[in-house]
Structure formats: structure tokens, C-alpha cells
Amino acid sequence: MSSLVAVLVDGVAYGMLLFLSAVGLSVTLGLMRFINLAHGAFAMVGAYLAVVVVGAGLPFLLALPLVFVVVGIFGIAIERTAIRYLYRRSALEQVLFSIGLAFALGALANLIFGPQQQGILTPAWLTGRVALLGLEITSYRLFLIAMGAATAIALIYLFEHTLFGARIRAAVDNRRAAEGIGIQVERLFALTFGLGAALAGLGGALSVEMLGLDPAFALKYLTMLLMVVAIGGAGSIEGSLLAALGLGTVDALFKYLLPEAGGFVIFGLLVAVLLVKPAGLKGRVA
């Protein structure tokens, strides 16, 4: 029994990592209706940045907010120079541009860092094991759970209970009316896109320890991120959280209970959810 709980805790931690990496995509996709396939590339930028600054001696815990801010600014810069011209374009053009951007950033990473795997030095207190309720959990996984929970709470508060969140919802639902009452939609969208990128960067930085890092990172995990958003429903923080935790735990549970087929169950889950709820668990039917 205790081992089943251990497997579930591992799954929750893995799910939290998925949530952290995917929630920014849910924001840009759901709130801004922009299909950003470069999201994984932003995560990769954050991951490389974390590897560089931690390698230069910055403590891991300080590297995380730094990555968040820098990748956020990078996202805003990309939004101002390119993305904003694509909001009114077709979905296909958005897909083509953003996947092209992902390829370009991946190639750039290859030029700068080479194709080899990168590692990050996590502090000693994150590499040990913690005895908790009679279980042995690794501290890094506990840390992921804490980070994921904190991020989810912060984002839900931001979007549901602040003026910023209200403005975003207004701008998405009726852009003209929002501009009419003095909301600066342009600036708001740039900030929101930056937030999505910042979240991706944070997820990327936290991924290195578990998933490794090389220039293929930009595209390798995109499928998983899109699955989280598709199941959760674009634009919903709670949806992303539910979907990521669901994927993480279902994956862990079935790998444990049914090792011979367990690795494929999540794809069945995706199909099942989308058959019943095409817009995802918490998707807003536009």
C-alpha cells in the first residue's frame, strides 16, 4: 500500500513539472488565442539560462526568479517585434511562424552550446531523500510539488482576483469594448505573452534535473505540453492543473500496475477526454 502512495506522490510531482511547463501555453493559447508552438523553445531558453547562471555560481534558488524575469522580458521582446502582427492572422500562419521560431531557437542553442546534454548542479538539500509519513520521497520532487502549488495559487489569484486579470478577461471577450473603456489592450497582451514565456522559462529551468537538456528540448516535450492544454482546456489554470496532475498520476499508476502497457495509457486518456469534452475539462466554449 505504502508503495502505491509513493508511486502516486512521484506522479503528482511529475504532473507538477508538466503543469509548470504547460500553464504558460494555456495562457497564451486560451486567453490570447495565439497558437504558440515556440512555447517549448521558451522553456529551453530558460533551461539553458539556468544552466549558465548556476554554472557561474549563482545559487539555484536565486536562478529561478532570474530566469523567470529574463525569459519574460525575452518573450515581451518577441511579442513586440513579431507575434503582435500575427494575432489577426490565420491559425496556420501562427503555427508556421511559431514552429519556425522553435526550430530557429533550437539551432541557435546548438550553435552556442553544441548538441551535447547539459546538467545543472542542484543544491545538496534538493538531492537527498526525505522521510515523510513513512515514505521516502526525494526532496527535488517535493520541491516540484511545492513550486507547482505555489504557482497555481498565484496564477489563479492573478487572473480571478486582480484588476490585471479582469482586464485580460475583458480584452479577450470583447476587445473593442475593452479599448473603449480605456484598457490598453496592446500593452496588456504584451505583458500576458511575457508572463506565458516567463512561466515556460521557469518550467524549463526546473525540468533540467529530471529531463536533461539539449537543443532538441524545444520540440521534444511540445507534445506533452499540448496534451496538458488540450485535456485541461485552453485558458484555464485549474484545467491545466487538473490535466497535468491527471496525466502525471495516471502515467505513474499504470506504469506501476500494468508495466507492459502502462506507458501508453495517457494517450488513451487524451482521446477519451476529448471525445467526451472536445474543449477540454475546463475549456471555455467560445
Binding site: 511529475y14 551535447q116 546534454q117 546538467g119 526525494t138 529530471m210 532538441a216 499508476l253 508495466p259 507492459e260
Partner: protein, 400 residues
């Protein structure tokens, strides 16, 4: 949209027409040049592997020059993007032979890529030296294949035999679910069971799986003496090794046994503590103390940078070049396929890994396999050899 689709259709048709119009009688270059067509994964997920081979080839030419038996050697490299790129390896093989007039092919990091090119080599009558692809059966798919790298059964069966002889009674196996993984599982089990061991559980994991904790939990509950594992290397293997440490396999009293590619020299700093006490079987580790290995590492660092560590892949590419040079020297510069193949059969090379021979019957490599233990030496994680199985033949060839 329609235009795009039509264009794609035309391109595909053109490609097919090109493939169909393949003429087997393309003559090799006759101007004194020896053209070596090289096919490696140089972009995508496995670009890192590709670079290791490339640098191994460059290191060889640095030491041995660019002419052999009066022929100047020209390397023409193509990128097959790793496995799963459909028939790209086949198309590139064709292009190298037809358009670039390659006399010989060196390449194929992955089993499916070698398999897809097999029939072509026979049609074109060009030998190909396999630089890595390690599934046993490949060399039987074409008489034009010569393998200088290794086979998974070589490592896996050796490890199975060692485990049975060293007090390990029960084993759980965990391999990635693709041809090399099945090979590894099959041959480890054969040797281990033949030695009196018992397999208490087995699982095949998805090739790209990065999350191994639940599988490992299952292993811990089965309480075997050891876990035998194989996965495709790179980030997947690093993630697996980290997870094995995280789940504390050693603390549960379970030894970890892996084929050497899972803990290759390039990944050791990333695996770190996870390497402690891990037993592996492999044909190369950078710690081999021989003049040839020292020369090789020195040349490799000159090519790839002082910080670079060559792994078994670099050695295999280096040896592929050595095999070619030695064979061409033997034929006096003639590069007709029959002559070259005959010259390669039975050749013995002094490789950085030790002495290796190309078996004249199977065209497959015969080499020493080292049993190593992971430990920290002078602040660096390494696989230290403590036992050697001499002149191991691919067991996949002897069983029939």
C-alpha cells in the same frame, strides 16, 4: 492549400521516380580518389552521437593522413537525422553511391537505418562499414555489411554470464521496447539462465520514456538480487540512471547491471552519484591503459577540444577508418567491392579498445568485453574494468 498539396505530391512522385530509376551499374570514381560516403545523425535528438563519430573519423585522419596506397581519401558526409526519419538513410546511401561516386559507405548509428540501406548495397555492389548499429541480425541482411562496432548480445550475454557466476541468483529485466532492447533482453536472459540464474520479472518500456520511478518501484517490490537494464542512451539513459538512484535501488539491496552504452563516458558527469557501484559490460572505457588509447585520446582532443571526452562511438568511427585504410593498403589501392570485402575479412586491428578482429565468416566484430564498476577516481566518475572476457563473438551468430 491545394497548391501546397499538389507540390508535395509532385515532389513525392519525383522522389519515387528517382528511386525507381536507380541503376546498379554506377561506376566508382576512377581518378585516384577514394570516396568515402559517411552517413551519420548530425541534426535532431542524436546530433551529439553524430558528432562523436565525425570527430573519431577526423582524429584518425589527423594521425594517419588523407592518403592510403596512393589514393587520396575524400570524405563526403550526409545527415540521416537519426532513427525514425523514414527511408532517409536509404536515400542518402543511394545518393552517395550514384551522385558522389562513393567507393565505400561508413555509417549507420541506428539499426533501422542500416536495415533500410541493406538491399541497396547489394544492388550497387558497395561495401558498408557499420559504425554503430548493434542489433545482431544486421550483418546477415547483406553480404556487403562489415561491422566494426559491437553487438548488443555481445555485451548483454557477457553480463548475463558474469551475473550468474558472481552470486546473483534472481534478476528483473527492464529494456526499451525496440529491436536492440529485445536483443539485449533475449541474450542477457539466455546467458543468465544457462548459468543457473532465474528471471523473476521483465518489463519493456517505451523508447522515449523519461519517467522510470513507477517501473523501479515495481522492481523494488519484486526483491530481485539485481536489475538488468538497457535503454537508448543520451538523455533517456541519464534520466533512468538518476531515477534508479532516486528510488534507492542500492538501498533496497538490488544491484544495477547495464549494457555499457547506458553509462557511456560522455554521460558520467551527468549521472554522477547514480554511477556508484553500477556494473556494466562494454568494449570501451576511456580508462583503458594502452599506448593506442593514449594516442587516440590525444588526437581526439586536438580535433574536438581539450575538454572533450571521446566515448565508444568515437572509437568505433576511428576503427571504421582504420579498417578501411588497412584493407585498401592490402589490396594495393584497389577498391572493387569483392576485393575490399575479402581484404576486410579476418583483419585484426589494434584499436584503442584492445585487439579486434573481423570474423571472416560473419563479417562481424570479435572483441574483448570488459566488466566494469562505477566509481569515483580522482574526483571524476568512471567505469573501472575489473574483469575481461577475451575475444567475444556475437552470440547471435553462434546459436544457430
Amino acid at each position: 492549400m491545394n497548391g501546397d498539396f499538389g507540390w508535395a505530391l509532385r515532389a513525392a512522385t519525383f522522389g519515387l521516380a528517382l528511386a525507381a530509376g536507380f541503376s546498379p551499374a554506377a561506376a566508382p570514381a576512377a581518378d585516384g580518389k577514394l570516396v568515402v560516403g559517411v552517413i551519420l545523425p548530425l541534426s535532431g535528438t542524436f546530433a551529439n552521437e553524430g558528432r562523436q563519430y565525425e570527430q573519431g573519423i577526423a582524429a584518425y585522419q589527423k594521425l594517419n593522413g588523407k592518403t592510403v596506397a596512393g589514393r587520396s581519401v575524400e570524405i563526403v558526409t550526409r545527415d540521416d537525422q537519426g532513427p525514425g526519419s523514414g527511408d532517409l538513410a536509404r536515400r542518402l546511401t543511394q545518393e552517395l553511391i550514384l551522385r558522389e561516386k562513393a567507393d565505400v559507405i561508413i555509417g549507420y548509428s541506428f539499426t533501422p537505418n542500416a536495415m533500410s540501406a541493406a538491399s541497396l548495397l547489394g544492388e550497387a555492389k558497395r561495401p558498408a562499414i557499420i559504425v554503430n548499429a548493434a542489433t545482431s541480425i544486421i550483418t546477415e541482411r547483406s553480404p556487403y555489411f562489415v561491422r566494426v562496432s559491437w553487438t548488443l548480445p555481445q555485451s548483454a550475454a557477457t553480463l548475463g554470464d558474469w551475473a550468474a557466476k558472481n552470486g546473483i541468483k534472481t534478476v528483473y529485466t527492464m529494456v526499451s521496447d525496440f529491436a536492440p532492447g529485445i536483443d539485449a533482453e533475449t541474450w542477457f536472459k539466455k546467458a543468465f539462465i544457462a548459468g543457473g540464474g532465474q528471471v523473476v520479472g521483465e518489463v519493456r518500456t517505451p523508447v522515449t520514456s523519461m519517467e522510470y520511478a513507477p517501473y523501479l518501484q515495481r522492481v523494488i517490490e519484486a526483491k530481485p538480487d539485481a536489475l538488468f537494464a538497457f535503454n537508448p542512451g543520451g538523455d533517456v539513459s541519464v534520466a533512468f540512471m538518476k531515477a534508479a538512484r532516486e528510488r534507492n535501488l542500492a538501498g533496497a539491496g538490488i544491484k544495477l547491471l547495464v549494457t555499457g552504452d547506458v553509462v557511456e563516458d560522455n554521460s558520467l558527469s551527468l549521472i554522477g552519484e547514480g554511477l556508484e557501484g553500477v556494473i556494466s559490460a562494454h568494449h570501451y572505457q576511456s580508462g583503458i591503459a594502452s599506448a593506442e588509447n593514449e594516442r587516440f585520446i590525444k588526437a581526439y582532443k586536438e580535433v574536438a577540444g581539450a575538454e572533450a571526452i571521446p566515448n565508444f562511438r568515437a572509437v568505433q568511427a576511428y576503427d571504421a577508418m582504420d579498417l578501411l585504410y588497412k584493407a585498401v593498403a592490402k589490396t594495393g589501392g584497389k577498391t572493387d567491392a569483392t576485393g575490399l570485402l575479402e581484404a576486410m575479412k579476418g583483419l585484426t586491428l589494434t584499436s584503442p579498445r584492445g585487439t579486434i578482429t573481423i570474423d571472416p565468416q560473419t563479417r562481424d566484430v570479435v572483441q574483448d568485453v570488459y566488466i566494469r564498476r562505477g566509481e569515483k577516481l580522482d574526483g571524476r566518475w568512471q567505469n573501472r574494468a575489473f574483469e575481461t572476457y577475451k575475444a567475444v563473438v556475437d552470440p547471435g551468430k553462434t546459436a544457430r
